[in-house]
Amino acid sequence: MSGPADRDGVREVARSAARAFAEAGDLAALEEARVRFLGRKGEITALLRSIGELPLEERPAFGETINDLKSEIEGLFESRRSALGANGAEEDHFSGDATLPGRRATAGGTHVLRRVVSEMKAIFFGMGYSLAEGPDVELDYYNFEALNFPVDHPSRDLQDTFYVNRDILLRTQTSPVQVRYMERHRPPIRIIVPGRVYRNETPDPSHAAEFLQMEGLYVDRNVSLADLRNDIAFFARSFFGADAKVRFRPHFFPFTEPSAEVDMSCFSCGGSGCAICGRTGWIEIMGAGMVHPHVFRYAGYDPDAYTGFAFGIGIERTAMLKYGIDDIRRLLGNDLRFLGQFWSEAAPEVAR
């Protein structure tokens, strides 16, 4: 048997209705398709009319089939109509082109120096150091006298100082916080002190009149030079990478003894010598030493009961080493194109 009245014919109508609805791009086209299938002269009506060609006993079953078909097609129509949306056009989530750029917010970022300080803080926090702070405008007493720089002693010439008056100056180092903190706390003390310091020097590519320093201080019973070396070595590896090595060169600071300058193996050549490290394979990164007994006495600690170490890291210098920055003055220049280079979490890929 063939013709519209057979079941295969019914499935064919359902398929072509689905196709027609899907192809309808707007409500008008959809309405046209609806009329074609569900209208008074549509295909469903035609199928119902063809019922008369069937033997009497098949007619009820066929009628039921057609009714099912009709509600199926009505369902298809409804879902398509709602898909076409209120304004009748197909909902386009992409304005026709999903490759257009997405909606962007203005990009911002932290200053590279904050980034360096934050990384350092995270490392030292992990080692049990807490944060402490002190004033930038400081008493001569804390900046020099209590740190064992005698009045009228050549050791004061080591640091060119900005003075407000005879007793007040701009701190030349973060070390005054050592005595300030010890005056108010009992051991064990393990602190870092990030902050700005000032030197009366004409700026050049490696010197600035104001720069950031991070002081470290650890005081307890039996803290030793060995502990200092190990903390600094751990810091260097954490901050600069697992291959970083440190060496300690004897030096002089009035407020520590023994004192050392700390060099790190050159990140650029790994120690074989290059232009960055002055062919030595090493780069100076900080000053350090064991807290001088005089400083303990100024702070009211018994130097026979406690020992301790202190260190001071130049933040700008460290940033310059880590990020390959050639001139310290750029760090205070606030050129947004310069600063923007350090906003991403990893080295940016080169755009094609």
């Binding site: 911002g108 200053h111 120096l113 003075y163 407000v164 393990r190 030793s224 030079l225 070595a233 020992t307």
Partner: protein, 797 residues
Amino acid sequence: MKASLNWLKRYVDVAEHPDTLAHDLTMFGLNVESIESLAPSYSGVVFGTVLECGKHPGADRLSLCSVDAGRGRPLSIVCGAPNVRAGQRVAVAVEGAVLAGGLRIKRSKIRGQLSEGMICSSTELGVGEDGGGILVLDFDDSPGASLDGRLGQTDYVLDIEITPNRPDLLSHLGIAREIAALYRRELRPPALAPLDGGAEFRLEIESGADCPRYTAAFVDGVAVGPSPVWMQKLLRAVGQSPINNVVDVTNFVLLELGQPIHAFDRDALAGDAIVVRRARKGERIVTLDGVERELDPSILVIADAEHAVAVAGVMGGRDAEVRPETKRLVIESAMFEPRLVRKARRQLFLDTEASYRFEREADIGVMAAAAARVCGLIAEMKAGVPDARTAEYVHDRGALESRTVALRVAQTNRVMGTQLAADDIAALLDRLSLPSRTGPDALAVSVPTFRRDLVEEVDLIEETARVYGYDNIGRDETIRCGTFSIPSPEDRRSELVAGHLVARGFAEAITSSFMDPASPGKMRWDDADERSRCVRIANPLTEAQSAMRTSLVPGLLDVLRRNTPAEAEEIRIFEIGKVFIPAPGGAGLPREDLRCTAILSRQADPLQWMQPQRECDFFDAKGEVETLFERFGLCGSVSVSETSGASGRGVRWFRGGKPFAEAFVVARPVLEAFDVEGPVYCFDILVDELPAGAQWPVMSPVSPYPAVKRDLCIVVDDRVRFYDIREAIAGEAHFLDSLRVFDYYRGGHLGEGKRSFTFRLSFRSPDGTLDGMAVDREVQRILAALHREFGAVLRTE
């Protein structure tokens, strides 16, 4: 301190390459900053033999020589030196050679005769001075052998950083002593037997505190002339110009022993006397540099019976200066109080080698020996006949003895983190010429006078650690951790603010703590504004950096002017930093506030295809502050008021009656003063005032019932403020969950002097779903209240 390697080798053997020596000294605490090679700089010079030497046919004073320079055939060379002879072994600069002055040798014709090179003098090779003739070599070699680098004495000069605690290292002997310790070699100090005192001479020291020791030695029959070549060479190597034998020997001993020496013309000393005293008020002296200087009693001088002849420890005077005709000398080898020398040096702006050393404290033990050393050298170079006796003053003879300093073994190990035995420590110190007697628990270390930095135990611990080697300590690399830490909320506050603003598209700047003292005027802050007075720097780098900032705004406006390219679109810059507010009355330390300040300018968002770009406005700035406050849980405790200061109009937020934040549009005259294009919007928050951590949010129940929303559009007079209406609604309404204003309109069809607000009010009850009718009645009540208070009416389209 510049140290000549050849000079050092007079006192200690050094076989190491200068680079190795520099490295080893640096690791020993003597930081070698540079090494300079003083090798003669000629090249292309070879050994030659003069085969024949005849007259130049065209010039009487020239010779025409035939020279074997290993070239297969003899070279023909024209020579102008009077001392050239056949058979001499000479240095020949052949074609292509370059001499010390940079002269390149070519074949040339001299008075018609071909000359294929040059027979060199010492001067031409840069290896010494000559008497106007060629250098005749005193050794043999095969003709043609290169002489490059072989003539003249090669020397290296190490520039060593000497820290203020080690004045003993401001001398070649001191550095040699370190090298001897470093390499465990023998030190060969020069013969330093002091002369006997008791000379007939009037030596008066006014104060033993000012001048603890003075040795005067005497020389007769002085013949001022050049010093020997070896001495000149060493002095030149370290940058000293030779002057004459007397002056050179004083400089030599200064650089050899570290003891400044001064020589007076004895016949120029009135009354044949040396008096060490304070200068008289208004006393004058012409120093060796030819400058007349006025003195005062804070300055120590050397005087004769009448007037000052030197500023003690700083510089001699012209009156008693050694001259070519000088016949008799007084040699001064003395010690002066370091602070006095420092004071005089600073007051007179006179930095000298002598003052540098006296300021760091002279070695009280060396004066007589140094005077003897000068006399010995003068005798050796036949520059005069030294007297066998000196005049000597010593304030405290005990100070000439070695000190004994106790060193506990346990304390040494405690500080170093080592397990050394007493004998180990003694052996380490012995290398530094520090002998000791060892007991079971402690050492008694004998410290000679030249180590004036070693005063107490910790000084010896440092020396022990230094010789032991810092890098031999703590090799196990274990971290000792007896403390734990977690950053406090206060510590994290500025990080939170920075992180928030960065996420909001702000770029962080870090500007100078200095401020131009003209900035408060440019900002138009009035006298009542605490930002108008600042901490001033007494010795600033420049006038524009002579004040401490009282606000971050001027710095940020400067960033905007100098560093933002014209094409930059969205400008959102912030800084978190300290400002410095002078203490009341100006005495004491200033208050240091941590502020967060931001500026916004130009576009509010990036240029994009889906929406028109918008210029930023005041409400962008204000909204950022409100968003930040919400982040810190601030709303109820904050009040806000409009401000109209001269630097800009906007709003100010208060907490507990204290202003702590503001947002404003920067006034046009301010922008002009800072040469910035506007408009610029700004906000400024006192970070210390943001709540941190003391209280954290506690859960409150969330209503499960739906909110009922009503829009309310009212018209009021144009002077009625949103803030007041909001307060009124909040005071009146029950179950008000939120209030937002989503339309605002002024004038136009409302008519002049009117404005309208459209609010979306959201009502919600914790106890059940609100009845729509009840909510409508609530809105009516609100409206009635607004009508009563502000004359508000419903807007009807």
